[in-house]
Symmetry: C2
Subunit: 491 residues, 2 copies
């Protein structure tokens, strides 16, 4: 069976010249440092049109190698106009992702080491630093042991894993037998608020549960899931033969950062023997602030939750954390051990590949560890607290100005609001506010996004960038008022 | 509904001092450059015991911020012993992940910009560079248009998405109705070789299809899926009421880099109206070498395939690419558009969030683009060709030495082999070779892994690190012979 053909001699090349890397990497550090000191030089939202960037690039790869210097220049000249600057202090759209200095430094080291923590042995420090760092984060949020944590790339994947674990717990035969063509398996249902994030929909669809089996529970007028409606829906479903599988309350909804009553939800879920996964992707880290710790009330009774350090904890993309009290179930849902991955490291060594789909694992823990250390518990709390203060100040400006209104309670760092000139119906208000937003975003000094709350078109100003200061809130308000005035003037 | 509480004044902190970042980032560049010039200073496989790294770290996070200098020192002193050095030229385990200079530089820029390409507008350059770069890679591999590509973190996720698309095509009602409790839905089945990767098993399990519905097709004595056995299995399943959903041939199996007959598989799959997803995660890039282009024969007839630049294309973790000819189906499987993600960028703008579970998207294309440019088509081909040559040379050493044998054909850059002293049965040979491997790995000069092929314990030497040169192959062989001799001497 051996097969050893003749081979012609070929030149060896190895990597590039080390001195080239040194020179260009130092230049890149200086460029990044300068960029981060003056992000406002760039329009926060890219102003290019679809296709502009693609057309500026060659249609085919080069035959021969090109210099790193040329590439660094191309990044600055060709690509930069196509970047929307998430690191710009005027970034108020969606939820902020701040890439602060400690995490940037960590990403450089992560890339240099290029460690892969798929198994414990393939880089013990990747696995163990991840577990230590996630235990630090647990402590910072004031949660009691034990919570097993693992880093994923996005909250969508964290929630997908959590619901896979829930399916494994309720219907373990699905792993081997699947769901199709079986008469012994009830339809499984998942419950969340009508304001829950689309990642829950995607997880339910991907798991093969069917989008119709995600039940959206009505919220109260503060946009919080109604426990009575939840219980009614679950009881009605059980009566019809459905099997409730999981409930996903949210701590900090995307549209309005409302917080579902987690403790009440947990109690109801227990009545139905249901998994509770808390989506705290954005707001969970607010619990680092002592006086905001209440946002995580009840989460200690849940089975899993997700929190995203790459959102409001100043850690560069991508870094989401899935915590669960049932790592054994998560492992049952995913673990497989082919011979080529067998190691002899004993039971003390955790192999993180067993807790999800991904096999390869970047050294993502490093950036979170360095971020937590660089600011410390007090420094993190002060920054998050300050962002909430800026949001309340902005809310005050809106609230006390004639012709504008807040459209949701301001509880954390998000302000939902809109311009309400007289004599406009809902449709006209939506179009008017959309035009205000586009006008502001096209100016490039601040960047906002929108949502709909109970049918009302609403602008969103989300504070969370580590570089945002009071002046940027003031600027945003100025830009919005100017835009509203120009709109009304038809200009 | 407005809610504007009083807020106490809090100190603003923002990010760290820019000069601190500059100083430490420059030091980190120098440290990485030095590390990459002398990776052999470190044992390639970490030699720590489980818990060593965790115990060396504080159990609780700091209250106050700490300096970046201290962290850089801790990385070097505390964490480095826990790193297995995937960038070490003696790394021959699993499949190599090389972090070459261009990609490291790109990762620094990616972290500095921290762009999130979830929507086209949230950084047009992220989406457009990804599409241009993946078209370059398609051209490099000699595939004909059109192939839609997207970057994911790992091949496991790429394959999961491909099979989700296959499910969507065959049984579109699953998206809304799910699979449980239905009598109108046949059980869906997926087919792969007995040597296929565990990521296919994980995808089938996660999708709710059931592990038993992944059918492992026997391979021939060259470890390739047998088309006749595939057709027989599919026909038998159809006769029993199963619905074949997808076939996943592999170009470069993990255990032995065998290549399934993709063209024949495609033809059979078409007879059964089945999706074909090709797992070319490791070996697909070999098609960049003109005389190895045959490895991708038949792939142009498939529906999707995955290839991992972070394996054998010198791009740092993580960078997997999923290509499909049916982006519309992939989008149908996943797309959802909540109001807070609605944009008005027109149909020319692709929103990559629509093609998978993940919403957030790092600027991963940058490292692949810079890698392709830095080496060019010829430079990439020369490096891959050289790795295949090194593997053949090593195979020659094994083949012509008494007492050793090759256990699989050497077709690319992986050598499967073992020591076969006289008078040992299979069990004894397995234990003997496992001890040889552990002895070599504990020495820290080279790192190998193992597998089983047709029940035979087999060592694997996988060439693929950009820094590996002829001397490291010779060293590996020397280490193995020394270890075998010591084992036989009982030393």
């Amino acid at each position: 069976m051996s097969f050893v053909p003749d081979a012609p001699p070929v030149p060896l090349h190895g990597d590039l010249a080390p001195d080239d890397f040194r020179r260009v990497a130092h230049a890149a550090v200086d460029w990044i440092a300068d960029y981060l000191e003056h992000p406002e030089r760039h329009p926060v939202r890219s102003q290019v049109a679809p296709g502009d960037i693609a057309r500026a690039l060659p249609a085919a790869p080069p035959t021969h190698g090109e210099s790193l210097d040329a590439m660094l220049a191309d990044v600055q000249q060709t690509l930069l106009p196509g970047i929307t600057h998430w690191n710009h202090p005027g970034f108020f759209a969606y939820f902020a992702n701040s890439g602060a200095y400690p995490g940037i430094l960590a990403e450089l080291l992560t890339a240099g080491l290029n460690a892969n923590g798929m198994l414990w042995i393939t880089s013990p420090a990747v696995t163990e630093l991840e577990q230590v760092t996630l235990d630090w984060l647990r402590q910072l949020m004031g949660l009691s042991e034990p919570w097993f944590g693992e880093i994923t790339d996005t909250a969508s994947v964290s929630t997908f894993y959590a619901l896979a674990a829930a399916r494994e717990r309720i219907a373990p035969s699905v792993r081997t037998e699947g769901m199709a063509g079986r008469t012994d398996l009830p339809r499984l249902r998942v419950y969340c608020s009508e304001h829950a994030h689309s990642s829950i929909d995607k997880a339910v669809i991907a798991l093969g549960l069917g989008h119709h089996n995600l039940v959206k529970i009505p919220a109260d007028d503060m946009l919080r899931m109604r426990p009575d409606a939840l219980r009614d829906a679950m009881a009605a479903d059980v009566a019809q033969g459905y099997r409730p599988m999981a409930v996903v309350p949210c701590v900090g909804t995307t549209s309005a950062t409302s917080v579902d009553p987690v403790a009440a939800v947990v109690q109801i879920a227990r009545e139905f023997d249901c998994w509770v996964h808390v989506d705290a992707a954005y707001a969970g880290v607010a619990a680092i602030v002592p006086e905001l710790r209440y946002v995580m009330d009840g989460v200690d009774g849940a089975d899993s939750f997700v929190v995203n350090p790459h959102k409001w904890l100043f850690t560069p993309m991508d870094c989401s954390v899935l915590y669960t009290r049932h790592p054994d179930v998560l492992k049952q849902a995913f673990a497989l051990l082919p011979e080529y991955l067998v190691t002899r490291t004993g039971s003390e060594a955790v192999n993180l590949m067993d807790y999800g789909i991904q096999l390869g694992r970047r050294f993502r823990a490093l950036k979170l560890w360095m971020t937590l250390r660089a600011y410390g518990a007090e420094g993190l709390a002060e920054r998050i607290r300050f962002h909430c203060e800026l949001a309340r100040e902005f809310a005050g400006m809106v609230h006390f100005e004639g012709g504008w209104e807040l459209t949701a309670p301001v509880t954390l760092s998000l302000v939902c609001f809109r311009h309400v000139p007289p004599d406009m119906n809902e449709e006209a208000l939506a179009a008017h506010n959309a035009r205000i937003m586009e006008r502001v975003n096209a100016r490039g000094r601040v960047y906002l996004s929108h949502t709909k709350l109970n049918g009302r078109y609403t602008l969103r100003l989300a504070v969370g960038n580590i570089r945002t200061d009071r002046e940027h809130i003031t600027l945003a308000w100025q830009e919005l008022r100017d835009a509203a005035r120009a709109e009304l003037a038809g200009g």
